[in-house]
Structure formats: C-alpha cells, structure tokens
C-alpha cells in the first residue's frame, strides 16, 4: 500500500519538488474553497441560498491538490459535492455563489443549481448528482483523448459511497481494459450520507481494496495534506499521459459539516469531529508554509485577499437580478430552443 504520508521537514527548503509558488497556489486554493463554502452556509442561514447544497468544508486539500497538479485542458468531472472542485479550477467565487443564490450572474444562470456546476472553459465538465454516473462519462472523455492523440487527462471525483454502485465497477473495468488516461479520485470522508461507509462495505478501504479487481495499484493517501494529494495527482497524471492507463486514488478525509444542508450530522460519535479538526487541511498547510519559511505576513495577505474576494462576490450576487423567465425554454436542444414538433 502506497500510503504517502511523509511529513516534510523544514530542511527540504523552498526548492523541494513542490516549491514556494505552487505551495502558495495550493494554500490560496484551499482558502478560497473554505471561505466560499463557509459563506454559502451563512447565506443559507439567511435564506439566500436555496435548494440543497453539499459543502466540502474539511475536504479542501483533495480539490486543491488535484486541481493544482492539472494542466490547462485537463478535465474535471465532479459530483453534487462539486463547489470545491469548480472553484479549484479557477471559476470565480461570484459565479459559484451566484448559481447557489439562483441569480442571473450564476455559472448557469440558475438553470443547474448547486449540484450541477459546470464551466467548460475551465475544464469543469459538469457536476453529476446521480451517484456514479460520471465515472463512465470521464472514461468517454479519456477515450476521445486516446483516439485523437490529445494529451489531456480526465479526472473524476466521487465519494466513498460511490464505490458500492454498479457504474463505479463498470467504469473501472472499462478504463483498465481500454487503458484510458483517466484518474479516479475517491474522497473517503467516512460517511456515505448518514451511514458510516464501513457499515455497508465489504472491505476496509472502499476504493483502495477494490483496485486489485481491476489490475490497479492500491493507493490510499492522506487527503487532508495538500502536498501528499498534489504528489499523488502528479504521479497519476504522468502515468495517464504516458499511455499507461488509469489510476484509482483513495483520499482519506472528513467533512466538517453534514451531508447536505438538511443534515446536522448528529450520527457522528462524540469527539470525532474535534479529532479531525486537529487535522484541518488549512491548519496543516498554514503550518507547512511556515515550516518552509513563508512569512506570516504573506499568509495573512492571502487570507485577507480571499476574504475580500468572497465579500465582493457576495455583494455582487445580492445585487444581481434573478434570471429572466425567457431562459426557461432555451438550450433544451442544440438549436437553442425546445421545439419537439412542427
């Protein structure tokens, strides 16, 4: 088992394999997700975010680690818990919050909602709300790359609960047999929704222990350490780009909030959340930056600029109009309309 959990000491200096520039990007990305998700929760309490929303508070390192290892043109396929992955690819906080707040400035002008964030110009090829649906779809995008000789990698994020649905197994086998440039990323946050994943899964590592069935290496990593995630992502992308087929990576992490906004997460044993908060990915990474000699002022500046960005986005969304009713019937078909008859 390749449990990559080594803690770099300060001695590696700023010129280790990740480097200061990338580390600051990893940190900033995580803070953007943290602040935007926290704001989404606050706006929900004010009844300004409607419908449902599934937050990634506590899971920021997975999204940041993978996105920062991606190149332009690489494709992200996300789940309904997809705000983090969308933000991590560079989509603006305003576009994401606007969609959650059902405004005309939202990423899809209110037509998709929280669970379907999509921004193809950023390589975010959709957020999929039917468990497992996007694993085969990511295979198809990877098949296109293989067929056309394109060098992009398709990266597919999903939760631990997905490992028990048929599409997961169909996609893993398909990708392995066709040797596709796709990377499957399981965010194991220990709960499928309200039920502990261990209660409903025949193996200990829901993704890792299934890898062997598809001839893949078992990879289980610390999903709360962005450096560890980044390194695992980089290795998997290299393998995919070299034509050596798919990877399945299980990231151990924990969500600080409930499954969705309707869930107070009372099923968690006492003390579990507090224990995981000691391993808060942002706290870990802030310490990491300090270890590598980044000045506290530089870190504070990132925090302040992100907060400003989220504040500005919130105000812009509050001012933004609701979507006009004439978009109701647009884009059902490729001609832009909805006509089903003459």
């Amino acid at each position: 088992m390749a449990l990559q959990n080594e803690r770099p000491s300060g001695s590696a200096g700023l010129n280790d394999d990740i480097g200061e520039k990338k580390r600051l990007e990893l940190y900033r990305t995580q803070v953007v997700i943290r602040e935007a998700e926290q704001r989404a929760f606050d706006l929900f309490l004010q009844n300004l975010v409607k419908g449902t929303s599934h937050l990634s508070l506590g899971q920021e390192a997975v999204a940041a680690g993978f996105a920062c290892a991606m190149q332009k043109g690489d494709l992200s396929f996300c789940t309904y818990r997809g705000h983090a992955h969308t933000l991590a690819r560079g989509v603006s906080v305003e576009k994401v919050l606007g969609e959650l707040m059902q405004r005309d400035n939202g990423l899809m002008r209110g037509k998709g909602g929280s669970m379907h964030l999509t921004s193809e110009e950023h390589g975010v090829m959709g957020s999929y709300a039917i468990i497992g649906a996007h694993l085969p779809i990511a295979c198809g995008a990877a098949w296109r790359a293989q067929y056309k000789g394109d060098k992009d990698v398709s990266v597919c994020f999903f939760g631990d609960g997905t490992t028990n649905i048929g599409a997961f197994h169909e996609a893993l086998n398909f990708a392995a047999v066709w040797k596709l440039p796709v990377v499957f990323v399981c965010e194991n946050n220990l709960y499928m929704e309200y039920t502990p994943i261990g209660d409903v899964t025949a193996v200990k590592s829901p993704a890792g222990d299934r890898a062997a069935a598809y001839g893949l290496e078992k990879i289980v990593i610390d999903g709360n350490d962005a450096d560890v995630v980044y390194r695992a992502a980089r290795a998997a992308f290299e393998k995919a780009r070299a034509g050596n087929g798919p990877s399945l990576i299980e990231c151990l992490t924990y969500r600080h909030s409930g499954h969705s906004r309707a869930d107070p997460a009372k099923y968690r044993p006492e003390g579990e959340l507090e224990k995981w908060k000691l391993r808060d990915p942002i706290k870990i990474y802030k310490d990491r930056l300090k270890q590598f000699g980044v000045r506290p002022k530089a870190i504070d500046d990132i925090d302040a600029s992100v907060r400003q960005e989220v504040d500005d986005a919130t105000e812009a969304c509050k001012r933004a109009p609701m979507p006009p009713l004439d978009i109701l019937t647009t884009d059902v078909y490729a001609d832009g309309g909805w006509a089903w008859r003459n």
Binding site: L75, L107, R109, T118, M125, G126, Y147, D331, D335, N342
Partner: protein
C-alpha cells in the same frame, strides 16, 4: 438502385457516416469482431479498424457513459445497446444525463451521439427481449427519437441522426432485419422530424411506426380490395421531433384517425398523437380516434401467444372496418 436487407442497411448507414467523418466512432457489445448479434454491423471492424469500431464489456452504463463523455469532448459516437429492453439498466444516461446536460449547463455542454438498439417483438424472446420502448424515450425532453421501417430509411435516418447535434435514440426493429427493400445508390441523408405518407388514401388515416408500417400497409390493401375503404398510411418515422403537420394534414383530408402501436396500451405514442389531433383538429374528425395496441400485459414467448397480442394486418383491417361502420 439495389435491393438490400434492413440488416445490411444498418452497416451501410454507419459506414457511410464513418467514411465521411473520422470523428464518428462505434462501440457496443459484440459489435466489432463478431459483427453484432443480429449481424447488422458485419464488416465495419474490418473496414474501419479497432480504434473506431470497439467491442465493450457487458456494461451498458459504461457504454452509454463513455459515448456521452466522447460526445461532450468532440467525437460523434454511435453506441449499440443490444436489446432496447436493456435501456432499463442504463436509463440514467438516457433519462438524466444525455438530455439534461445542455439545459442544466445553460448551453455549455453538447451531446451529439446516437444510441442504436434492437427493438420490438416477433422473435419469441419473451418479455425482456421483445419490448417496444420508444415511448420510454419519447417522454424525455432533450432527446430525439426515430424508428425507421425500411432499409432506405435506416440509412437516411442514421445519417441524419449522426449529423444531428443532439442525442438521438435510434430504434431498429428486430423483426425487420431480414426485410428487403429498394435502396438508391450513393449517399442517402434524410431529415429528422419528417413523417412520410407511404400510401395515400381518402377514407381514414393510419399512423404507424417500424414493424407496424408494413402491417398497416397490408391492412390497407385488404381494406381497399375487399371493402372499398381507401386508407392513408403515415409512417411516423420520427417521434421527436414529431411531424404533426403531416399527421394533421392527413386527418384534415380523411377525417378519421387510427394509430397502430406495438407498445402496451398505457402511454404509448399513439396516445400523444390522438391527444394532439383531438386538441387541434377535433372538428375535422368524423368519428372517435382509435388506438390499436398490444394489450397492457408483458409480452409472452410462445409464438401462438405473441402472435395474438401484436397488432396484425387482420386486426388492423377489422378495427378500421368496424369503426367506419362498413
């Protein structure tokens, strides 16, 4: 002009499009080296090679999901689902993914793909390999749905489906595979959303689809020769887009409407056509519209039983004759 089977027309239609456009690729179970379980895709693997014509595992979700991912990112996949009954195990893609991604993404996502499938009864395969499920797809906004009844239409509508920028579900009727028909030489390209009057007549309009078209035509011949009733037969061909103008125009001339469906009774496509005609041409009608369907039961396997439940030329002719009071 040459005579060709409906089965061979499938391979010719796909080959025509693969020759034209290198982005057209084809995948499915047993479709490549074996040439398909119905032998409808024989020769494609040899002609276009293993990168473009690919055998898949028995993984219907992977087949349709992969087709979608490829379509979203620049290819024009044709995916085969061996029997349309198997749509039930991959319906997420048909119902939730293909047809909704463009709308949900506010027009960002494209999905130009074709799912072709063996549909319909008559092969004594029983309740899970014989259904006509085109109505399952007709009810979903965002899909297009076609079902050709002749070899020529197989080629023309396949070309139209592959060239269409939306997801198209292409229903081939299993019992039509051995049927022969005249097919012009050269490229054939049809348009989606056009019905065809395959027999003009003045006394009644009979709307039919796929296998029910030749049966409706046979019934029309009997009605004419034995009872002097002159029926117009409309091959609906495309359920979405639906060519209501051809149907409404026909009813305006004949003043009677019959639909012939293989679907079980409830929520078959004929109900939608009857509803449209009732809404928009009620005062053209000289009598109630009549739906001829299979009864609302699962399909039986034994030939003596299956033959009773499907609409036959005899049942169509008798129903029309009785309804017209002749």
């Amino acid at each position: 002009m040459a005579e060709m089977t409906y089965r061979d027309a499938v391979a010719r239609g796909i080959a025509q499009e693969m020759t034209r456009d290198p982005d057209v690729v084809f995948l499915g179970e047993d479709v490549a080296k074996a040439g398909g379980v119905f032998k409808a895709t024989v020769g494609l693997f040899e002609q276009f090679g293993p990168l473009r014509v690919r055998d898949t595992p028995i993984s219907e979700q992977a087949i349709l999901g992969a087709a979608m991912g490829a379509a979203m990112t620049g290819l024009k996949p044709i995916a085969e689902i061996m029997f349309s009954d198997f749509f039930a195990v991959c319906f997420d893609y048909i119902a939730n993914e293909f047809p909704k991604s463009r709308y949900m993404s506010n027009g960002q996502t494209k999905c130009p793909l074709v799912v072709r499938t063996g549909n319909g009864a008559g092969s004594r395969f029983g309740a899970q390999h014989s259904q006509s499920v085109e109505n399952w797809c007709m009810m979903i906004p965002g899909l297009k749905v076609v079902a050709p009844s002749t070899p020529r239409d197989v080629i023309g509508l396949m070309a139209a489906a592959v060239r269409d920028p939306d997801p198209v579900i292409f229903f081939e009727h299993k019992s039509l595979y051995p049927m022969k028909g005249e097919v012009p030489d050269g490229e054939i390209v049809d348009t989606l959303g056009s019905a065809k009057i395959v027999r003009p007549g003045k006394d009644a309009t009979i709307c039919a689809l796929a296998l029910m078209v030749p049966r409706a035509l046979a019934a029309a011949e009997t009605l004419k020769s034995e009872h002097g009733i002159d029926c117009e037969v409309v091959d609906v061909r495309s359920l979405v887009p639906l060519d209501t103008q051809t149907i409404l125009g026909s009813v305006a001339r004949t003043h009677r409407l019959f639909t012939v469906e293989e679907n079980p009774r409830l929520c078959g496509w004929g109900a939608e056509i009857v509803s449209i005609v009732a809404d928009e041409a009620f005062y053209e009608l000289d009598g109630p519209p009549v739906r001829i369907t299979t009864p609302h039961i699962p399909l039986p396997a034994a030939d003596i039983l299956e033959d009773i439940v499907l609409p036959t030329p005899q049942r169509i002719a008798e129903t029309v004759k009785r309804s017209l009071g002749s």
